[in-house]
Symmetry: C2
Subunit: 354 residues, 2 copies
């Protein structure tokens, strides 16, 4: 059997772009791609076997993706996948990810994100698969003690949402796993703020309901799905009073995952490594609006409203470890992020349902 990469949550936003990048690049052609996704955050047309993003990726690349509509908490389902493919490593995206919703539904978040992850790890161990790339978040740092945030910054302090805690807890579990058995090789990628879309405009971010994140909110205003953008607070101690974040192009992010997998080939590598993925530069909400207006040629009406509970003023990454360890660096600019988001949104005003 050919070696395979298992991508959990591979039909979601970052997951699908990573699958696309894996299939686009000829140096990964040795691998089969196996996706498991319970379709919580991915659209599938009636009567179709595969979710829409994966269908489009297959069309664009001419390659096949093995797809399983299974929840990672389903032990038997995972056994079926691991016994049907020669899985060499796992990229684990599958998780619930809406910060606000997690406050309303903590049990659902902990069960999906913690129990699900532990069940996946048990299956990996059972089938002798010890190589893992984990989808973590800068949320684990809580309120920054200093900027830029490097990987030595304390984690887990003052976390305000079950979502953020679930990412932190998973990192702690993975550290313990690596301490218990040196066979584990785990890279936890701490994403800053993923935005943008594949340059084809055929796959992109497709949030259900009102977007929680700035970029899809802006682009849905630009395309006319929403009337105006809400800007949560303009009295932060930042360049223009609005929140500053380290936005990173999802294609750069996807390439970070591919680089992480290459690291597994180095036999001296083992244990748990947390690595920031960002550009290292922060932009404010108003700067984003302005860049998006330039890219789209559309005016983005916005209204300043109260700060959201739990939001911080600014964060951006120290990205030197990603360069040193993975040989990776973000190459796409804010203008690229806006252009590609707009291309996706314009071509797919209602997301994958378009």
């Amino acid at each position: 059997m050919s070696p395979a990469i298992l991508v959990t949550g591979g039909a979601g936003y970052v997951g699908s772009h990573t699958v696309m990048t894996l299939l686009e690049r000829s140096d990964n052609s040795e691998y089969e791609i196996v996706v498991v996704d319970n379709l919580t955050n991915a659209y599938r047309s009636d009567g179709e076997k595969k979710p829409e993003p994966l269908k489009r990726i297959e069309e664009m690349t001419g390659k096949n993706i093995h797809f399983y509509d299974i929840d990672i908490r389903d032990k038997e389902g995972l056994n079926r996948i691991f016994s049907s493919h020669n899985i060499e490593c796992v990229i684990h995206f599958a998780a619930l990810k809406a910060v606000g919703e997690s406050v309303e539904k903590p049990l659902e978040y902990y069960q999906a994100n913690i129990s699900g992850t532990c069940t996946l790890f048990e299956a990996m161990r059972k089938y002798g698969v010890y190589k893992l790339v984990y989808s973590s978040s800068c949320t684990v740092y809580g309120e920054p003690e200093k900027l830029p945030l490097d990987e030595a910054h304390p984690t887990g302090r003052g976390l305000t949402s079950p979502y953020g805690k679930s990412k932190y807890f998973c990192e702690e579990i993975m550290k313990d796993l690596c301490r218990s058995d040196p066979k584990w090789m785990i890279i936890s990628l701490r994403y800053f703020n993923p935005v943008g879309a594949h340059k084809s405009g055929r796959i992109g971010e497709d949030p259900s309901g009102l977007p929680n994140n700035l970029m899809p909110f802006i682009s849905q205003v630009a395309v006319g799905r929403l009337k105006e953008l809400l800007v949560f607070g303009n009295d932060y101690p930042t360049i223009d009073g609005t929140g500053v974040r380290d936005y990173i192009h999802v294609q750069d992010l996807a390439e970070g995952h591919v680089k992480a997998i290459k690291l597994f080939k180095q036999t001296e590598f083992s244990g748990f490594h947390a690595v920031n993925l960002g550009t290292g530069t922060g932009y404010s909400v108003l700067q984003m609006i302005s860049a998006f207006e330039k890219a789209s040629g559309k005016k983005i009406p916005y209204k300043i409203v109260a700060r959201r509970a739990g939001d911080i003023a600014a964060n951006y990454a120290d990205v030197s470890l990603a360069h040193r360890l993975l040989g990776w660096r973000a190459t796409r600019t804010l203008d690229d992020m806006c252009r590609d988001t707009w291309a996706w949104q314009r071509a797919n005003p209602a997301g994958f349902r378009s």
Copy 2:
């Protein structure tokens, strides 16, 4: 149906003493007692339906205990219990608890202690049961920043074992649960070092394998099951160089749980409350040895060996909140703890298998 208290892990050490206390005291006679235990840390004789500690409690009290040999991760099993009884509140002891073992088997610990607890909470919510007493530990404080430890001391920092982290994670999950829904009433009892046994000498601590904790180690040496006690380090900055802990009689601890349940009757109570259960006084290993020698009339040979990784020099509780909130205070002395441990150990040299 009569109201019932569900005790998870009710056949274990602290669980069985709490069940005994609930059944002994006439003011709890309105309640049926339902125990769920997967028998990981409880002995059941061949051919018997109920584990030995529960059988003995039934003999001593003349009362019936409903027993289910079910793992709390078994959703259907929990549904069966909740639909068969009129459960009013839950005392949740069920967990894996060996610090050293947890370092070897982190996944097993996280699955049992986190996934198990979340599955229990889902069942409680499903059946409209929102009152919970949780079995927590002073381990959540990590290395003390100051002594005595009060409940405002930071938790979760520098925890060295998956066991300790699992207790901390569960506390965070319960806080989030209470924030998400004001119906929840949760008291998390942070035990210091439970020792001793019921005064009858018929139930007590019965560790499988080499004891991890000091008191059962001492008593097994006293009864001749072990040759000598290992004392891990005598160069700590304490009264005699050996580790200092806040030992608390398991009967005092059990009474703390009963007091917590009484608090649920106060309608103004809601949310998450963490409460220390200790005596407020620390004793060193050498002080414990000496007290046990006095109680048992036996010489306890011991050998000083290297410190254990992760052990701290000293801890003891500020117990004022327990008194204020629960009207509870430990009443039993170190001599009581040693006397009752010895009575149990002498009458049951091989524990419940005797």
